[in-house]
């Protein structure tokens, strides 16, 4: 009807206003931008962006993630995870590529996805690394 013909990404859902709180199970084929409170479980087929005002308390499976706000939970990312200067993350991240900007906060475990697959055959090897970084 509209954006589809112009080639721009179609906005499937848009919440506007002062505040919003969402809790539940989200299955999204493409991308998601969060500037409010979201909790529960999330499957993202593209990029998850948590904005500066965003607070996410959820178990997330995604390709890429960019965190400018607050994130708490377990995340599995097949692509890149980026914690920006304003980002604050508490929890476990399973990814091959993690970038934490100077000033960004991360408290938890990072597991390499490729190593995680190796642990299935060699359980004695512990690839997890405990880190708490705050610049």
């Amino acid at each position: 009807m509209r954006s589809q013909s112009s080639g721009a990404p179609v906005t499937l859902l848009s919440v506007t206003g002062q505040s919003a709180k969402l809790k539940g199970k989200f299955d999204i084929t493409d991308s998601l931008h969060v500037e409010c409170e979201v909790g529960g479980e999330m499957n993202v087929g593209g990029q998850l962006v948590i904005g500066e005002r965003g607070t996410v308390n959820a178990t997330v499976r995604t390709v890429d993630a960019i965190i400018h706000g607050l994130y708490e939970g377990d995340m599995i990312a097949t692509g890149t995870v980026e914690i920006s200067v304003t980002g604050k993350v508490t929890g476990n991240i399973e990814t091959d590529s993690l970038v934490i900007a100077k000033g960004g906060f991360f408290n938890g475990n990072v597991t390499r996805k490729t190593d995680a697959a190796a642990t299935a055959t060699a359980p004695e090897y512990v690839p997890t690394e405990r880190v708490a970084i705050s610049f």
Binding site: V10, L12, V15, S31, G45
Partner: protein, 150 residues
């Protein structure tokens, strides 16, 4: 037409950035949503929803949820119980199954509605106080009609 109006107001909001925006081909969301202002849906949503402003279900939107809202515009599919303190509009492309509790319901030609409509009752007030404004309004109308007739 209301669709375009909403789109326009969305881009001119003070904050500019929506609180939550989902993009792509398909999305399925289920759970409890509390939204202080407005929401526009073009995907599948289920569960429970409290909206402080306007709920807009677009042509591609499928909502299976119990909703408490002020205004609602349904251009897609809605299934559930809807309580709206403002206006409810079922557009020509809208399909609604379920119960609606509102004082103002508009169904456009072609719009589909299957269910019950109930007027919102003022809680805590007796029947007499509720029915009081209605005859007064009629009286005023009669007066105006009389004045016009003279």
């Amino acid at each position: 037409m209301a669709f375009e109006m909403f789109e326009g107001s969305k881009t001119t909001t003070a904050t500019g950035v929506p609180l939550l925006s989902v993009q792509g081909a398909t999305a399925k969301l289920e759970g409890k949503f509390e939204i202080s202002d407005s929401i526009q849906i073009e995907c599948e949503v289920g569960g429970e929803m409290t909206v402080g402003g306007k709920l807009l279900i677009g042509q591609n939107g499928i909502v299976r949820a119990d909703v408490h809202t002020v205004d609602a515009v349904v251009m897609g599919q809605y299934d559930g119980n809807l309580v709206a303190s403002g206006d409810v509009e079922i557009a020509a492309t809208g399909r609604v199954t379920g119960n609606i509790e509102t004082n103002s319901l508009v169904i456009a030609k072609g719009g589909f509605f299957n269910g019950n409509v109930v007027k919102i009752r003022e809680t805590g007030h007796s029947e007499s106080t509720r029915t009081e404004p209605a005859p007064r309004a009629l009286y005023m109308l009669d007066e105006r009609r009389l004045a016009a007739g003279r």
